[in-house]
Symmetry: C2
Subunit: 376 residues, 2 copies
């Protein structure tokens, strides 16, 4: 089976090309290099989805060591062939026995699959890194961005014979906090006002295909086919498609509010968010307004961000060059720009920044694989 990202995102210009990673390690002979006898055995759950496919890309890009890897998906996808690092694998149906002998299981198959099979995998001794929202806010489950709060998963290691659950935060939270945390550490964020510009990929590969198909249709003057979102997406934007809660926020927005508190281990931080889906393929953008307890001028903020892990600063005012979703697509780093003192706040207590990050990569698969790396 060809990679879904190859199938549906053939064009570099759509945001789908596999650009070189600025921070990937050189690997002159990558094929099968990661296959090692004493390495952990892996399972990828939801391997045929957009994030599942990206798990494989990231594992290969980072030479993640493994002695075996199981490709798991629903019954519907079982039997497909997946080529990975020079070998051919058959997709197996996910069952409760799938996790026998598995050390690390990367899950991205939706919350209900995680709820059902995550605890089963843990019982079998696997460490589950779960990309769904199922366990994120559960007490005792670390919610981890490796650049931000690696200490939250202290003591969880492969080889201790003990299963565990670790949750991957929501994509918007990861991208926001990779940029905001270095500033928070310096000056203590009191309040964040976030507005997002979210890509199709957050709703899966089918949503990406729908955006592409709709755009073809609309350019031809035809009515757009609306299956995933129930409305036109091409040349349009709309409030995030997650359910709206009684307080008027949608689930995506409340993830930003709540996950930030858990990741920063700080229940006092005030966050509000407005999450919007824009017709972009696979990278999110976020406009983030920050209010600090302690003063922070913009030059210091820029220096802090230039030295922050997982961050690249693109902030060239003279040439109007700032982060865009297209240029961070398929990149590991979160790009930050438009760094400026907020004129609506007194003195040096406020900053505005604009952040872009690849939703599938750092927003999901890369972050999970980075967590897995810390387990070794």
């Amino acid at each position: 089976m060809a990679s879904l990202t190859q199938q549906h995102l053939h064009s570099h210009f759509l945001g789908g090309a596999r650009l070189p990673q600025s921070n990937s390690r050189p690997c002159p002979a990558r094929v099968r290099m990661s296959l090692q006898e004493n390495a952990p055995s892996l399972a990828v759950v939801g391997v045929t989805g957009a994030v599942g496919q990206e798990f494989l890309s990231v594992l290969a890009d980072r030479d993640f060591p493994y002695r075996s890897i199981k490709m798991l998906a629903s019954k519907r996808s079982a039997g497909q062939n997946i080529a990975f690092q020079g070998r051919s694998y058959v997709v197996e149906e996910l069952t409760e026995d799938s996790f026998n002998g598995v050390d690390i299981a990367l899950f991205s198959a939706g919350g209900s699959i995680s709820k059902e099979f995550g605890p089963l995998a843990v019982d079998r001794g696997a460490i589950v890194v779960d990309n769904s929202s199922a366990f994120r806010m559960q007490d005792g489950v670390p919610l981890v961005i490796p650049e931000v709060n690696p200490e939250a998963m202290e003591g969880i290691k492969v080889g201790k014979g003990k299963g565990a659950l670790i949750a991957n935060p929501n994509c918007s939270t990861i991208i926001c906090l990779v940029a905001a945390t270095p500033l928070h550490r310096r000056s203590n964020v009191l309040r964040m006002v976030v507005s997002t510009y979210q890509a199709a990929s957050g709703a899966g590969a089918a949503a990406m295909r729908e955006l592409e198909q709709q755009t073809h249709e609309v350019l031809a003057g035809k009515p757009p086919t609306c299956k995933i979102f129930q409305r036109q997406y091409a040349f349009n934007l709309f409030s995030h498609n997650s359910s709206v809660l009684p307080n008027g926020y949608n689930e995506e927005e409340m993830k930003l509010v709540k996950e930030t508190r858990k990741i920063w281990n700080n229940n006092d931080v005030k966050v509000t968010a407005t999450c919007i889906r824009v017709p972009v393929m696979r990278a999110h953008a976020e406009s983030v307004n920050l209010q600090f307890e302690n003063p922070l001028d913009e030059d210091t903020a820029r220096d802090i961000l230039r030295n922050a892990p997982g961050v690249v600063v693109i902030d060239d005012r003279a040439s109007n060059n700032f982060p865009t979703p297209l240029e961070v697509s398929n990149k590991d780093d979160v790009a930050v720009g438009r760094i400026r003192r907020d004129v609506s706040q007194d003195g040096k207590y406020g900053l505005d920044i604009f952040v872009c990050g690849d939703q599938i990569r750092k927003g999901a698969a890369l972050n999970a694989v980075q967590i897995a790396e810390m387990l070794l």
Copy 2:
């Protein structure tokens, strides 16, 4: 000459169709109805541009009375024919003599044309309603949104034999303040944090064509043609293309900051903005976070907005139905939704709202024609 909007926005789905106006007056026999002997003589400057064409549409839709109308543009466009209300007009080259006998001149030909010809028109006794930024912040020039501050142009009337300049605010400011002002009147806005999602139309008809052309190219796997913005726009977004000022804000953002103060006649109001161009054809969206001096609960806010002039509330949480740029395209009203108490502010002192408005129509042509109506 066919209308530019017809030429380039053939498709309803692109955002270009001429939908019925929810608030247009019925007009069973519209043709030439507006041509009246005792009515003012009009001039439209920049008539072949996107906003110029929309001036004509709005004048027709609203049965604006006139005894004559001059179609003015640059030398390059002079000689073209324009059909308007059943008559054919020849586009004339704009010169200093163009305004002899003109009562009201609607300008939308860029700031430098306004600076050169606006004062000349005023000297000839014309009242200029200028859509450029040339005079907006000039002392003594009213900056007017008819629903918000009609009192600013008190005393300026056709028939007094006296020319005057009136400035049309920037599109983002108009769309934001049509929604925010009714709430401000009730509870006094102390601070606004705005993030915009701005359409191609704000950069003119050529930018709309470029977005369409680029999208064709990208879908075909070809490199996109980048003339207007110097970067890919299709399936991408980027910081607004206006110049970045020494304080790190771009000009578009500082318009929101400064124009709000002038229109509200309130130098204390704090505003910050991040302005982003998204691949949408002709309507802007804005995420607006509001901090009030006096408490305002969300139900009251919704009631206030339902009764506000120029506003339609679309705020259906159960069906996830909120404003989108596509559905306000070619509409007069600004749509407001996602009205909710801001969880990052104490008590009832904060609200988040999401606003969409047609950039060419209420953001430019309609607002100018509404100003002209107040001159009669």
